[in-house]
């Protein structure tokens, strides 16, 4: 006894192409075969599809292969080899063949390393720059006192009375805190017999300072240290003279004006 299941065209229509293409599986194939036994329209559809496939295959077979097909492999391999020879990888491989690029690279790296090391040693242990226009000299200059403070005033009496017309106005330089002042005064004091330098000593020291190299120097041509010594001497001479004129050290001043004179000199190389 066999079980026959009748199927309609609608049920199998969508599967006809799958059947022709061999994509139907197991029970679906059996069902299709049973249907094709009884349905001429669907059988005709299957036949048409198969004929169309046969036509395509026949047309394909009838086309002769050109000669070039069999020689394709040598042409392609030659081109592939030429491309490979021009690739970066091949270039690198050629460069490493005799190691000359490797030597060049290693030499460059070593030279860079040695140069860097040498520069570091020089910077760390080398002598400090002593030039006036060097960076360290500039920093020293900027770190020195801000300038010179001048008072322009008229001495008054010991008891604060109004200034007499006879007394002349004086210009007084206030201590600018220059580091050379105390050193110069100590040196002068040691040279004098009574332990304190006189105005004459100061003037002599000043003359010696500004004529040190056989001609009169100016502030502009002096080195900062010499200039500082000269300024200290001038300041001290001014103090002596003020004491002589009006006893500024013990009296009071009517201050008319206060001036701060400041300057920073930077000498550029080559100027």
């Amino acid at each position: 006894m066999s079980l026959v299941i009748h199927t309609t065209c609608d049920q199998v229509h969508d599967q006809i192409a799958d059947f022709v293409d061999g994509e139907l599986r197991g029970p679906d194939v059996l069902r299709m075969l049973e249907h094709l036994d009884t349905c001429t329209a669907c059988a005709e559809e299957v036949k048409t599809l198969r004929q169309m496939g046969d036509s395509l295959r026949t047309a394909a077979v009838s086309e002769p292969l050109p000669r070039g097909v069999d020689g394709l492999s040598s042409a392609v391999i030659s081109r592939a080899r030429a491309e490979a020879d021009q690739s970066w990888l091949a270039f690198a491989a050629r460069a490493c063949e005799d190691w000359h690029w490797a030597y060049v690279g290693a030499g460059a790296v070593a030279a860079t390393f040695v140069s860097t090391l040498l520069l570091s040693v020089i910077l760390a242990f080398g002598p400090a720059p002593a030039r006036d226009d060097s960076l360290s000299a500039l920093i020293t200059n900027l770190g020195s006192s801000a300038g010179w403070l001048f008072l322009y005033g008229t001495p008054v009496g010991a008891y604060g009375a109004a200034a007499s017309a006879a007394e002349s106005p004086v210009l007084l330089q206030v201590d600018n805190g220059g580091p050379a002042a105390s050193g110069v005064m100590r040196a002068l004091a040691e040279r004098t017999s009574d332990g304190a330098p006189s105005e004459a000593d100061l003037v002599g020291a000043l003359a010696a300072e500004i004529r040190r190299e056989g001609h009169a120097g100016t502030f502009e041509t002096m080195r900062p240290a010499d200039r500082q010594r000269v300024e200290a001497l001038l300041e001290q001479i001014t103090r002596f003279r003020l004491n002589d004129v009006g006893g500024v050290g013990t009296t009071m001043l009517n201050v008319h004006e206060v001036r701060l004179v400041t300057s920073t000199s930077v000498t550029a190389k080559g100027l």
Partner: protein, 205 residues
């Protein structure tokens, strides 16, 4: 007595054997083995040329395309991971290259194209010298083939590709889907449309 015979078990050849043979060949080619490359080409060159010819319809173009395909195969072989078979992977490259070439060709030559009717009106129909000396049977076969190629040439590229891969190259739906990078359902619908158009064009061929 049969018990004394030495029986050597022989394992049947399976798809995985073929895949591993392909894989070994791919590895050798990727390592720059020219003999392996030549073997890979000789195994696939006819397949590649014929597919290119059926998609482009021109022997010289198909030959050029085959060269390009194999160059591309060798360039991209290191990226082949074996997710598909080597054959379907190569098919995919052929289809992509053919599609690119047709697109390029259409852009470049669209302005120079002359409709066939216009050409025939000016120059008259060309005599087919090739068919003059053929026996009747071959002549009839040739005529059918020409009609088939003419109908095939009228199909859109995606439909032509599936019908060629199915009917001429004999790929399964799954292999076609794999080669084209589309779903099996898309393959079936394209195939149905292509068959409908071909049937109308060929009639009783």
């Amino acid at each position: 007595m049969w018990q004394d015979l030495l029986v050597k078990p022989v394992r049947a050849l399976t798809w995985s054997d073929a895949a591993s043979a392909d894989w070994a060949l791919v590895q050798q080619c990727a390592a720059g083995d020219e003999a392996a490359c030549a073997r890979l080409m000789s195994d696939h060159q006819r397949m590649v040329y014929q597919l290119a010819f059926h998609l482009l319809g021109d022997a010289q173009e198909a030959l050029d395309l085959s060269q390009e395909v194999f160059l591309r195969v060798f360039r991209t072989l290191p990226s082949f991971r074996g997710q598909s078979t080597l054959r379907t992977w190569i098919y995919r490259i052929v289809v992509n290259q053919a599609s690119n070439r047709l697109r390029w060709w259409r852009r470049r030559h669209r302005a120079q194209q002359v409709p066939l009717e216009e050409h025939a009106a000016v120059h008259g129909d060309l005599p087919d010298q090739r068919n003059a000396a053929m026996p009747d049977r071959l002549l009839q076969q040739r005529e059918v083939a020409d009609r088939v190629w003419g109908a095939l040439g009228q199909l859109p590229f995606d439909q032509r590709t599936v019908i060629v891969l199915r009917e001429i190259d004999g790929l399964s739906y799954e292999e076609i889907a794999d080669s084209l990078g589309v779903a099996v359902g898309t393959v079936k619908s394209r195939l149905a449309r292509a068959r409908g158009t071909l049937r109308a064009a060929l009639g009783g061929a």
